[in-house]
Symmetry: C2
Subunit: 244 residues, 2 copies
DNA sequence: GTATTTGATGTGTGATCACATATCAAAAAT
DNA sequence: ATTTTTGATATGTGATCACACATCAAATAC
C-alpha cells in the first residue's frame, strides 16, 4: 500500500519544478524587448502602462522592473521616474572595455576547452543565419543570430556565472546597440564585418588558439563599438543642426 | 528673462536626488548584513520575519530581496523558499577566476592613472587599519578595512560600472568569506598574508607598474580563495566524522 | 504501537487601495 | 501678451488582504 508513497518520494528529489510566476514571464518579456530594441535608450517607463499592455496588474511589473533596475538595465532618473538607460558615450566606452575583459576571457576559455565539433557546427550555423538574415534585411533575426553566436561561444567556456554577468552587460547595452538599426546602411556594414570576424573566432576555437580567440572577440566588440559611436555622434549632430 | 530657465536646464542633468525610500534603506541594510557575515551561506530567508526585525511591512523587504535575487546574492531554492547562496566549491572557484579578471583589470587601471599621493595615503591607511583591527581580534573591522582597501583601489581605476560589477561579486561571495571567521586561526593568518600582499599592491601603484598591480591583486584573491576552500573542506570533513 | 490523516502555521504571489508628489496644460491675474 | 497660479492627471511607494501551497506535528484510525 505504500508503493505509491515510495514512488512519490523517489521521484520527488530533483524534479525541475516549472513554477512560472507571472512576474517571471513579465521579466523575460521585458528582457527580450530590451535586447530586441523595442525600447529606446532614455525612453520613459511606466509600471501601469506596461501592466496594461501585458495584461497583468501592476504588481508583477513592479517586481520585474525592480530586478531590471538591479541589473542596471533600467534606471531611476528621478524620484518617481523610470527610464531605459540612455546612451552616454563615456559610459558606453566603459562597458565596452569591461565586455572585452569578460567576453575575451570567455572566448579564451572556450578555445581552451576540449575540441567539440558540435560546437563548431553550431557556431557556424548561427553565424550563417545572421548573414542570411542580413541578406534579406531582417535586422531582428540578424541581431538574434549575432547574440546566439556569442552566447553559444561563451557557454562553451563552461562558467555559468560568467555567462550570467555577460548577459547583464548585454542587457544594459542592448537598447543602445539595437537602436543603431535606424541607420540601415551602417547596421548592414557593421554586421558584415561582424560576420567575417566571427569566422576568425570560429577558426581560432577550432585550432584551440586561446589568444586568437580572445583577439577576435575583442576586435568584434571594438569594431561594433566604433560603428555605434559613429551612429550616435551622427544623430547628435543632426539634432544640433535641426535645433539651430 | 529666460536666465532662470537656462540655469535650470543647465543644472538639471545630474542633480543627485536623495529620495531615500524605505525599500532603499532595507536594501542597504541587508547588503551590509551580507557583507559582514550576518547571514550564513545557505541560510533560509523569510520576508515577513525580516520585515518584523526591520520594523517595516513586508512590501519594502520583498522588493529589496527582489533586487538581491537579481544580483544573485540571494537565490530562490524552491517554489516558495528564499535562501542565501550556499557555498559550492566549483561555483566559488568560478567566481574567483572572474574576480581575478575584473579586479585585476581594475587594479591595472588604477596603476595606469596619474600618480595620486592622496590615493596612496588612503590605501596605506585602510591597510593599516585592517592590521590594527586584526591585532585586537576585531574581525568585523578587519573585514571592513580589507573591503575599504580594495574598493578604494578599484575606484581609482575610474570605472563606476566596473566598480559596480565587482560590488555584486563581493555581495555574492560575501557570506562565504565572512563565515570563514569561525576558524579564528585561519582567518587571522589569511589577513596577515593579505596585509603583506596589499603592501605590494600599494608599491606597484606607486611605481605605476600595471602588471605588478594586477599580479598582486590576483595573488591576494587567489590566496584568500585557497584559505577559504580549506576552511569549508575542513568543515565538511568534520561534519562527515560526526555523521559516521 | 504504527501508519495515516488532518489541521494549524508559515511561505511567497498577486490584487487593490491610499497616499504624496511630479508634471503639464488651462485659466487667471498682471 | 506674459507671467503666475491652479487643478487635473499620472506616477512610484507602501500597506493590507486573499490565495495557493508546503511543511510539520498532533490526532486519529488501523
Amino acid at each position: 500500500m505504500n508503493t505509491f508513497k515510495l514512488m512519490n518520494k523517489g521521484q520527488r528529489t530533483l524534479v525541475p519544478v516549472d513554477v512560472s510566476t507571472v512576474q517571471e514571464r513579465v521579466y523575460q518579456s521585458l528582457r527580450l524587448g530590451l535586447l530586441r530594441g523595442e525600447f529606446l535608450p532614455g525612453e520613459q517607463i511606466s509600471i501601469r502602462s506596461l501592466a496594461e499592455v501585458l495584461g497583468t496588474s501592476a504588481m508583477p511589473v513592479r517586481e520585474a522592473l525592480a530586478r531590471l533596475i538591479a541589473e542596471r538595465a533600467i534606471e531611476q532618473s528621478g524620484p518617481r521616474t523610470l527610464r531605459v538607460a540612455p546612451y552616454l558615450a563615456s559610459d558606453h566606452e566603459n562597458y565596452i572595455r569591461i565586455r572585452m575583459q569578460l567576453e575575451g576571457y570567455a572566448a579564451e576559455r572556450a578555445a581552451s576547452a576540449p575540441k567539440d565539433p558540435a560546437l563548431i557546427d553550431s557556431l557556424k550555423r548561427h553565424n550563417d543565419s545572421m548573414a542570411e538574415a542580413l541578406a534579406v534585411g531582417d535586422f531582428d533575426a540578424a541581431l538574434a543570430g549575432n547574440q546566439a553566436f556569442h552566447f553559444e561561444l561563451y557557454r562553451a567556456g563552461g562558467y555559468p556565472q560568467l555567462l550570467d554577468l555577460i548577459s547583464t552587460l548585454w542587457l544594459r547595452t542592448g537598447p543602445i546597440v539595437a537602436s543603431a538599426r535606424k541607420d540601415a546602411k551602417l547596421f548592414d556594414r557593421l554586421f558584415h564585418i561582424g560576420f567575417r570576424i566571427h569566422d576568425d573566432a570560429i577558426e581560432a576555437v577550432e585550432r584551440r588558439d586561446r589568444a586568437a580567440a580572445r583577439w577576435a572577440i575583442n576586435l568584434d566588440i571594438r569594431s561594433a563599438h566604433l560603428a555605434i559611436r559613429r551612429f550616435y555622434k551622427h544623430a547628435a549632430d543632426q539634432a544640433d543642426n535641426e535645433g539651430s
